[in-house]
């Protein structure tokens, strides 16, 4: 069973995401801050990271880069409330494996995670849509 690290500064959202993923049969572990997330990455066997973009301190996009530096092959899915072109572009440019725009359905998040775990890197999933390479 893959273990998924869910990072979001908002408790309710974090727990909601964890529950959605657990319902799909994944194990989850939650982190409120990037620091805690890096610690957990060291301690535990994590198969995938789901992180909010907008957070105090290190943003999800910056966190993505840090994670890539530590674990180049670990899939990262970013979650955002603002599905702006900029977020899409940045996420794609930094090599996110998925971008899920809030509000999303359970299936959308679960689908993105499943796709990221199943497919090689370089393909970014955006709420059920697949964008290859650069975002137009």
């Amino acid at each position: 069973v893959s273990r998924i690290l869910v990072i979001d500064d908002e408790h309710v959202i974090r727990e909601l995401m964890r529950e959605i993923l657990e319902r799909a049969g994944y194990e989850t572990v939650g982190a409120e801050t990037p620091e805690r997330a890096f610690a957990l990455l060291e301690e535990q066997d994590v198969a995938l990271v789901v992180s909010d973009i907008v957070m105090p301190g290190l943003s999800g996009l910056e966190l993505l880069v840090e994670v890539r530096a530590r674990r180049p092959n670990l899939p990262v899915i970013l979650v955002t409330g603002a599905g702006t072109d900029e977020n899409l572009r940045e996420a794609s440019a930094r090599g996110a494996d998925g971008l899920v725009i809030k509000p999303f359905t359970h299936a959308e998040l679960q689908g993105a995670v499943a796709a990221a775990l199943a497919q090689p890197q370089g393909v970014m999933h955006v709420n059920n849509k697949t964008t290859e390479g650069d975002v137009p």
Partner: protein, 657 residues
């Protein structure tokens, strides 16, 4: 001839005779010189000079001690030369009366003074004549010139021969003088005429001297009249406006009739057919009885000046009338309207005749009871006019005084600056500012809204999984989910709409712009019974345009369509396609349609049928402006009862064309 003398004077007479003899001797010796002297008269330039020469000659001739030219009387007898001797000096007096001299001339004979002929002379003159013994008169009648009379007095007791000799010499002298004087007269006349001609020619303007017999024109005049030689017989004259002038009313005829000088500025068709404008003045020349026998016309060509002035005047007039700013000229004291330009008349919605002569309070003042605040000091203030239909117009009044060259206030110029457009523009700015703020806000708040929204939707989804389908709870949870999803769509539409906030152009999909706008309109201004249908036959039509501006067009068109369907309900169809002319987009409604009189004005700025509900009348004119700025157009097709169809056309980008 001898005049009887008393015995006491015998000695004196003898002495005088001896003196005369030597004088005659001298005279013979100098005869040649005398003739030369007389001939020299020919070279004399003035009559006085001639007479001086003559008198010198006469003195030599008669041997008199002194010869004086006593008078030169043009009208009567001309010059009298009196040779005197024996010490008597009659200078300054009239030797003989004119009548006497006239009689002497009539007799045409030399004569010796007789006692009776001395009657009437002043005593001292009579005495002198008696003492001198003889008065010889040689009348000289010259044709056309005043007669000359030489009166020579010389001493008595000369032989008849001597006398004859003296007389013949005088006659010779007179003959020579006659020739000289005639030559002089002719020369003088020729010189006078040449001088007159020179004066005429020296006049830089055209000059015509006309008498009954002849007309003289100077070369400037000939040139101005386009005539080679003579003054043209008949010149076509017209007023400046082209009206023909009655031949009985030409300035020349009027001068002749009235005897008063006349000035004129007229169109002249020259002898060579060229049409010019001449300005001139004609003065009468009257004889001593006051009857006009000639006229003098002085004139010049003022065509260029006139045309320049005309052009300037016309230009200023047009400038005044075509200024886009409303301007009125007001009498400074009474403030009566003296003139107003087209923009002013358009502003107040009146015609010139309604405006001219108006005094405050002017009918176009919104408040008839008010007066201009500080009207004597202020030069600029905000005021309120009203149109003929009563619509108030906010205006900014600028006032300036126009001074005459003498420094007096000649006129008051009032400029009324229509502020409605500026006010509307300011409103529009606020409006577009709002739009921009919404865009910025949307991006900023999307995250804030979407997080809690996700929480609601996420948990509702759990609850829905737990709830028994078909139960009230399940139904209510679905309602919560649907409503929350609606919030999601609103936020998404706002984000999409606000995504491109700049007016920068780019290759964009016309269908995307249309659908984003439709989506926003659908979400933000729901109208019951109005269905928005999208129909993108060619979803990939790309245009080089500002998405933001095109959205503005779609917002305007869809808003109008919604307003048209407000009562009846119906369908709005938004369609995008492409044909041989380029890209197009249509917004159609199934509303009541647009009446013909409204249809032809829908694109006019500020034209609105919905002013009561806040219509600005700018939506369609702004839309048209945007379409044209993009090289396209916006047209409307509508018939009452058949709805309205607005069609936006845009050119395809080069590579797609």
């Amino acid at each position: 001839m001898a005049v009887a003398q008393s015995g006491d004077d015998t000695q004196k007479v003898a002495t005088t005779a001896a003196a005369l003899g030597s004088a005659e001797e001298r005279m013979r010796r100098t005869e040649r010189q005398l003739i030369d002297a007389a001939l020299a008269v020919n070279e004399a330039h003035t009559l006085t000079e001639a007479l001086t020469l003559l008198s010198d000659a006469a003195r030599a001739l008669v041997g008199a001690d002194r010869i004086s030219v006593l008078e030169w009387d043009r009208d009567l007898l001309g010059a009298s030369i009196v040779a005197q001797s024996g010490g008597a000096d009659t200078r300054g007096t009239r030797v003989v009366s004119n009548e006497t001299i006239a009689a002497l001339i009539a007799s045409e004979t030399p004569f010796r003074a007789r006692e009776e002929q001395l009657d009437g002379l002043p005593d001292e003159v009579a005495d002198a004549v008696r003492r001198l013994g003889a008065l010889v008169c040689v009348p000289v009648n010259l044709e056309g010139v005043p007669a000359l009379t030489f009166q020579a007095s010389f001493v008595d007791d000369r032989s008849e021969d001597d006398c004859e000799l003296a007389i013949s010499k005088l006659r010779l002298l007179a003959r020579l003088t006659r020739i000289a004087v005639r030559a002089e007269g002719e020369r003088e006349r020729a010189r006078d005429e040449a001088r007159l001609r020179a004066v005429l020619e020296a006049v830089p303007d055209g000059l015509v001297v006309r008498s009954d017999r002849e007309a003289i024109v100077n070369s400037a005049g000939r040139e101005l009249l386009g005539a080679d030689d003579e003054v043209p017989e008949r010149i076509r004259l017209r007023e400046l406006d082209g009206t023909e002038i009655d031949p009985d009313q030409t300035p020349l005829v009027r001068v002749r009739r009235s005897g008063e000088p006349q000035s004129y500025t007229l169109r002249v068709t020259r002898h060579d057919g060229v049409e010019r404008i001449h300005e001139g003045r004609i003065a009468p020349v009257a004889d001593e009885n006051g009857s006009v026998f000639a006229t003098v016309t002085l004139f010049r060509d003022v065509t260029e000046e006139h045309e320049q002035r005309f052009i300037t005047e016309q230009f200023l007039e047009r400038l005044f009338d075509e200024l886009p700013t409303a301007v009125a000229v007001v009498e400074p004291c009474t403030r009566e309207i003296q003139s107003a330009n087209r923009a002013f008349l358009d502003l107040v919605g009146l015609e010139l005749e309604d405006v001219l002569g108006c005094r405050p309070p002017y009918p176009w003042w919104a408040d008839q009871a008010a007066d201009v605040p500080g009207r004597d000091e202020a030069s600029r203030w905000d005021w309120s006019y009203r149109r003929a239909d009563g619509t108030p117009i906010p205006v900014e009044i600028t006032r300036s005084f126009v001074h005459s060259t003498s420094g007096d206030v000649a006129a008051l110029v009032v400029i009324a600056n229509d502020l409605s457009e500026r006010r509307e523009f300011e409103r529009q700015l606020i409006q577009s500012g709002k739009l921009a703020s919404i865009g910025e806000l949307a991006a900023g708040v999307a995250h804030e809204i979407n997080n809690p929204l996700f929480a609601i939707l996420g948990f509702v989804e759990f609850l829905l999984l737990d709830a028994e389908p078909g139960t009230k709870t399940h139904e209510r949870l679905e309602l919560i989910q649907g409503t929350a999803l609606e919030i999601k769509e609103i936020v998404r539409a706002l984000l999409d709409f606000a995504r491109e906030r700049s007016d920068e152009r780019a290759l964009i999909s016309l269908a995307d712009v249309a659908s984003q706008t439709v989506e926003l309109m659908r979400r933000t201004s729901a109208a019951k019974q109005v269905e928005l249908v999208e129909h993108y036959t060619d979803a990939d039509v790309r245009v080089d345009a500002s998405a933001n501006q095109l959205k503005q067009i779609f917002v305007n068109l869809i808003s109008n369509a919604k307003a048209a369907l407000k009562e009846s309900g119906g369908t709005i169809t938004v369609e995008v396609g492409r044909d041989s002319c380029g890209a197009w987009a249509e917004v159609r409604d199934t509303g009541p349609g647009i009446p013909a009189d409204v249809l032809e004005r829908v694109f006019e700025p500020f034209f609105t049928t919905r002013r009561d509900v806040g219509g600005t009348g700018l939506g369609l004119s702004v839309s048209l402006g945007i379409a044209q700025a993009h090289g396209g157009g916006l047209t409307v097709d509508s018939k009452p009862g058949e709805g309205a169809c607005f069609r936006l056309r845009l050119p395809l980008p080069e590579e797609h064309a």
